[in-house]
Symmetry: C2
Subunit: 437 residues, 2 copies
């Protein structure tokens, strides 16, 4: 089995090292030795330390490499949409099997890759694209195929989980926690993709596609980041026995006309401390899967890093190599269900709303009236007065309201209407609540 590697950065070089250190085991598991036919890099002469590979394998021509007759499997560790997509389409059309960790490309245009794979007859595997080394795609793609997945709820971005965990532990604000994450190497110099939820949204699209047998792209995912989560939000969550996590949620639902739908979203949410995802700290990832027969499952592990990602890549390399030796192809993309993706406004969520109100009789009645007008049912109200209590006039008080489940649009409209009440001085925070305890 001869392998072409595209890119030789953190993950690529770790793949090379593991291929070398485990070569005997890999050969035994595959049934044939695994060799590196070529490594495409931008600059051939660059110092790559003590990489255990013949320097002659480096090339700066990826298009030539992926089509070479002596290449069976192409491993892509470059990332981004172009030129990675063109290289992989070329490789797949030439009948090569492809292993990639490129979540952005898969979420943006996975269909093109799946189609090219079907055309060329090779495999397309991408376990490393979501949640690093946590074996997740294979369980969704295979183990749960006898069941009906109802919801996937995941913490799939290590950077934001580190930041939110730090805010929860130390009481720090977002900026301070981000600075700490940057110092410790958990956040990149430009943290936008992580803190604005783009990375999680790409992974949500991939998970939703697998769980619901439907092509879901990055554009189908409602996305909110964590930049507006405040220390007060975190404290408020704590007071409720909750913690705040950036969740990716892909859920099956039913539209008004009775048709099945899926909704896919990424946003910060409060979850009770008793929920299995609540204890997933630091940069760890975990994905909680609910299925009709299987019940509640959770998968936990490191979500990123060179070695864990390389482990997932190599697991796929062994699988596609065995398939090639046996002359077979794995099950291809399963998108038969083709469920419509419902807009965020129709997704069913719960809100936790903190209001600064004037401490005056009748405030609660006015506020409750707004919820009723929007057909939103209130689950709990906590009223704290900063002034003299019931008899006081025009002093500050706060009102914390948690709703029952309602369409997100109705909840958003409720918040909008609350802002217009003259007894409401400000809406201090709005957070969604997930995972009822």
């Amino acid at each position: 089995m001869r392998l072409a590697l595209l890119g030789c950065g953190t993950v690529g070089s770790e793949v090379v090292r593991l291929l070398h250190s485990q070569s005997a085991d890999l050969a035994a598991r595959i049934g044939a030795p695994l060799e590196i036919a070529g490594i495409a890099v931008r600059r051939i002469g660059r110092d790559r330390g003590e990489l255990p590979v013949d320097p002659a394998v480096f090339t700066s021509d990826p298009f030539d490499l992926v089509k070479r007759d002596d290449v069976d499997v192409v491993v892509e560790c470059v990332g981004g949409i172009e030129p990675a997509r063109s290289w992989l389409v070329e490789a797949l059309r030439a009948g090569k099997s492809v292993v990639t960790a490129n979540k952005v490309l898969l979420a943006e245009d996975g269909g093109t890759l799946h189609d090219a794979a079907a055309q060329g007859g090779g495999d397309l595997y991408y376990e490393a694209a979501v949640a690093g080394a946590i074996p997740l795609l294979r369980p969704l793609r295979e183990s749960l195929h006898g069941d009906r997945v109802t919801q996937v709820t995941g913490i799939v971005n290590g950077t934001t989980n580190f930041i939110l965990s730090a805010m929860d532990t130390t009481g720090a604000g977002f900026a301070e926690a981000l600075a700490e994450a940057t110092d410790l190497g958990y956040a990149e110099a430009d943290p936008t993709a992580d803190v604005e939820g783009f990375d999680a949204a790409a992974k949500a699209a991939i998970l939703a596609s697998l769980a619901f047998h439907t092509r879901v792209g990055a554009a189908d995912v409602h996305r909110e980041g964590i930049t507006e989560v405040t220390a007060a939000d975190v404290a408020s969550a704590k007071a409720m026995g909750c913690t705040i996590k950036l969740l990716c949620i892909a859920a099956r639902g039913t539209a008004a006309d009775g048709r099945e739908t899926v909704s896919v979203r990424v946003h910060p949410a409060m979850i009770p401390l008793t929920h299995p995802l609540a204890s997933v700290g630091d940069a760890f990832n975990a994905v909680f899967v609910e299925a009709e027969a299987a019940g509640q499952l959770m998968f936990y592990g490191p979500g990123a890093g060179g070695a864990p990602t390389a482990s997932a890549v190599l697991g796929d390399v062994v699988a596609v190599s065995r398939n090639r030796l046996a002359g077979v192809r794995a099950a291809s993309e399963s998108a038969y269900a083709d469920l419509p993706v419902r807009p965020m406004g129709e997704a069913l969520t719960r809100y936790h709303i903190s209001l600064d109100v004037t401490d005056r009789p009748g405030v609660l009645a006015a506020v409750a009236g707004v919820f009723a007008q929007h057909d939103v049912s209130i689950a709990t109200v906590r009223q704290g007065s900063a002034g003299s209590g019931v008899a006081g006039r025009d002093e500050d008080a706060d009102l914390v309201i948690v709703t029952h489940v309602a369409p997100d649009a109705a909840l958003a409209a409720t918040v909008q209407a609350l802002r217009g009440l003259d007894t409401v001085r400000s809406v201090a925070s709005v957070l969604r609540v997930e995972g009822s305890a």
Copy 2:
């Protein structure tokens, strides 16, 4: 695709129900409809409630059924070694693919089944045999094949986990917690297989075989149950910031001659509350996998029950059906490493030992001397006096010692020697400690 079902009890009837309710989805995922060709049961006429299946499919002749030309896949939900083994060997030799949840048979004589599958050219899948619906075997069998698994630590028996969780929560003794588990349906009338660790040992053998590419049988597993765990042990664990779990542990190691080995064992052990397995309560299962590149992974979910087990069975049915339609066979048993199983005495463990001693100067020196003689290093000592302290004579005191890692035989010999010391009134408890925080 035509399916023969052996057994129609809790799991079998749930498989029938799911096949019916999900038939359209299953057909789409497989690429062909899935039909029940026959169900072999002991008593054909028995009342099976509202099972959505033609009564004509029931037969009392499993040997005939598994060989029939119109059967592609055989699903076994009977359990036990015979006659299940004879039926499955017959089915596999006849070229059928087999899906089974029979952990006892796989642990006792999995080799015979694998050999028969290789001979007949069909698949042998058994995801449901370990940890119910938690997708675990497929990740070990495939996803982690590019990595080197170093240890698998699992809570794989729901009954004992329920009992130990109850003891931890309520302070109850073993007998009382077992009675509660029996009342609630978590323990069978004869709980021996669960509480004595036989069930966990069978699963440990299956996990070890997959993780280390080595045939490990039930007889290779060192097994201790939970019947001797006392309320005092549980309280002692709590005082140390730990909880007691029945663990199955399969670990890679190195023998004195430098050769790689595996050790496989099932016993109660103290684990720190900070360990991810510590929060796995009630009848849930979880398996913690450590691999060189991937790091620490955990898989969590319901370990038993008709629906979760049926979900795992059907996931396998979809996989083997797709393989048959494609005319291919999945990767067969991987046992190339063939590592020797090291005896329990050589396994590296840590002990937590509580001693009742006479409160006399020199006691600690005498006790510490015994550890030194056996080359066992002490990590922590906690001395509590029930009497007048240092100057007191012949009053009761207790000494709690936690060791560093040492060969289990050295630790056992140390405990034996402590019993012989005349300053040691009794060895109040001995528990292994796992998962350093």
